[in-house]
């Protein structure tokens, strides 16, 4: 291939997409290395889907330019299409057809002969643990099965670059782990993956680099540890027995931790960013001494809300109308 020396899967500069008055994507720069997993982290309506749709040749950018494996996004779409695959947010398969019929159809469209298509479809159904459901209509599949058949359809011919738009949204934890295993296996085989997610944990588990997106702009970019370092290593959540005690509790914890202690959304809860988890036990001991009773406490990774709070100083804004425009 002409691009063996090419080390970048995606290079984009100043991508902009405007819907009416709304700058859905507002100047996005990207450089994504071949063979890596890149995560877009952001709330609904942040511009994640629109960016992916532009990079997958489904939407033309209004400004800026991008290269996929060295091919120009606008003028060389045919060359790009033969190397990418897209698994959208909604099942990108025919729900009235059975699993095997869908995979045979896609295999035929990718150029397999009738016989090869059937063999490939069966191979994928077994690999994705869908063999028993091969002859069921996809509309009768569970959420996790649907996701798997959808990804199977995307890798009939293993793509060099796979776009996954919120691959695990709405899945139960076990199905989510199955999807993660599939993504890891693909990356091991050399596929570059660009995925979007609303969960920091998912980005952390899978992605080599993460871009945090809000209002069409990348507001932070880096490896997962860089990102976490910038928002605090972990987050302490405390629920108090009596909400009257909260002000006192904040005061006590601020002395022991730092001034990142904030009231939570529930009137009896509070959160704090913790750089050194070892001081947490001590701080909670202080609460005990002051006779402040807790119902629960936990130490975990910061949630998307907290990442946003730290990066933007504002909580996540849900913008349903915006998302509507994006998915059209």
């Amino acid at each position: 291939m002409d691009d063996t020396k090419q080390t970048m899967a995606i290079e984009a500069k100043g991508l902009v997409k405007v819907f009416g008055k709304d700058r859905a994507v507002d100047g996005v720069d990207l450089s994504i290395k071949k063979g890596s997993v890149y995560g877009f982290l952001g709330p609904n309506g942040a511009g994640k889907t629109t960016t992916i749709r532009m990079l997958a040749t489904l939407l033309q950018p209004d400004e800026g330019h991008a290269q996929i494996f060295g091919h120009d996004l606008v003028s060389e779409t045919a060359a790009i299409k033969s190397r990418i695959s897209l698994t959208g947010q909604y099942a990108s398969i025919d729900e009235d057809l059975t699993g095997i019929e869908n995979l045979i159809m896609i295999s035929r469209l990718m150029g397999y002969s009738r016989k090869q298509a059937k063999a490939r479809a069966n191979e994928l159904l077994h690999a994705f643990s869908l063999a028993d459901a091969a002859k069921k209509q996809v509309k009768n599949y569970s959420g996790g099965m649907r996701r798997r058949i959808d990804i199977a359809a995307s890798i009939v011919v293993t793509p060099d670059l796979l776009f996954l738009d919120e691959p695990t949204t709405g899945l139960d934890p076990r199905s989510r782990n199955q999807v993660w295993d599939i993504i890891r296996a693909l990356v091991n085989a050399g596929t570059t993956v660009l995925l979007t997610t609303q969960y920091l944990e998912e980005a952390d588990q899978l992605a080599d680099r993460i871009a945090v997106i809000n209002h069409g702009k990348i507001i932070a970019e880096g490896t997962s540890s860089e990102l976490k370092a910038s928002v605090g290593m972990s987050t302490l959540h405390v629920s108090l027995f009596d909400q009257q005690d909260r002000d006192k509790a904040i005061e006590v914890l601020t002395q022991k931790l730092d001034d990142s202690v904030r009231p939570g959304s529930d009137p009896a809860s509070l959160t704090a960013q913790v750089l050194d988890p070892s001081v947490v036990a001590e701080a909670l001991g202080e609460l005990q001494k002051e006779n402040i009773r807790m119902t629960t406490f936990s130490l975990g990774q910061p949630s998307l809300d907290e990442v946003f709070l730290t990066l933007t100083g504002q909580p996540v804004e849900e913008n349903a109308a915006h998302e509507e425009g994006v998915t059209r």
Binding site: F19, R53, A56, T57, L58, L59, Q60, A78, K81, S82, I84, S85, L86, G88, Q89, Y90, A91, S92, I93, D94, E95, D96, L97, T98, E101, M105, I106, R108, L109, M110, G111, Y112, S113, Q116, R120, E123, L124, H126, A127, F128, S129, L130, D132, A133, M145, D150, I155, V156, V157, T158, R174, S175, Q178, D181, I182, A185, L186, N188, A189, R328
Partner: protein, 280 residues
């Protein structure tokens, strides 16, 4: 089967997964004809799984033919059997033209589901998705025509053009319907919902099929209306189909229908493909 995934995760399933990913080859891309046939077989499979969608080409034509023959026959032609000779070619055209709009509805449904995006990111000749669907629609139109003609024969329809005349008539209807379908695919790409698409399609179809020579001779109409009826493409088709069936067709009549079909196709097929490629 999700169970087996869980238990085999370390060994079997994961190994299979890795093999499946590694064993993928990159076949050369299919030609347009082959991908069109793949899309046609998709449409046939959909009929197999959702046979209700054949209602419009089976039950619909029967109801239409019976209803209009017995409703208007006595009033317009004095007897239902006389009227049937006049009405059948027209009602055949009207029914098939009306069911062409389902082509647009199917496309509109694909867009609102994710599969439209999947097709557009495949390295294939894009129009094949529509050409394949239209090929199967042609089969559906043939079914509707056959059902109506057979029922007509039972009710007393006697085409003087005989079998060749009937075949010629149906062939002309199929050509016209294929061309007209591009109008609905264009609308299917523009309209946001199935409901609004249905409404707009009806708003176009009802006037052009009723305000035509399907039910009455245009000479009985006020002159301003007659002017419209005479240039209505549906009327042109009905005239040629009547000609075929009653052995009086002229090259001019056929020529007008082909010209109308050509105009529909040359405007709406490229427009459909433009919208298909650039759909947001």
């Amino acid at each position: 089967m999700t169970q087996s995934f869980e238990t085999n995760k370390q060994g079997g399933a994961n190994g299979q997964l890795i093999d499946a990913i590694a064993s993928s080859e990159r076949p050369s891309r299919p030609n347009g004809l082959s991908s069109s046939f793949t899309f046609a077989s998709r449409a046939l499979l959909r009929i197999k799984h959702v046979p209700e969608q054949l209602f419009d080409v089976t039950v619909f034509p029967i109801i239409f033919l019976l209803m209009f023959t017995y409703l208007f026959g006595g009033a317009i032609a004095g007897s239902t059997s006389d009227y049937l000779q006049f009405l059948l070619p027209g009602i055949l055209v009207m029914t098939v033209s009306q069911i062409t709009m389902y082509t647009g509805i199917d496309l509109n449904n694909d867009i609102r589901k994710g599969i439209f995006d999947r097709f557009r990111t495949l390295p294939i000749w894009l129009p094949s998705a529509l050409v394949g669907a239209l090929l199967v629609d042609t089969v559906r139109y043939s079914m509707a025509s056959t059902i109506m003609i057979v029922l007509g024969l039972i009710l007393g329809f006697r085409p003087e053009g005989g079998f060749p005349g009937v075949i010629g008539a149906v062939a002309l209807i199929l050509v016209f319907s294929f061309s007209l379908s591009w109008v609905w695919t264009t609308l299917g790409l523009i309209m946001r919902s199935e409901k609004s698409l249905m409404m707009v399609s009806m708003m176009v179809l009802f006037p052009i099929t009723f305000v035509s020579n399907v039910f009455v001779e245009p000479e009985t109409l006020p002159s301003w209306l007659e002017g419209f009826v005479d240039i209505n493409p549906i009327s042109l088709l009905v005239t040629a189909v009547r000609g075929f069936m009653h052995d009086a067709v002229t090259f001019e009549q056929i020529g007008w229908v082909l010209l109308a079909s050509f105009i529909f196709t040359i405007i709406f097929a490229p427009l459909t493909m433009y919208l298909y490629r650039n759909k947001k």
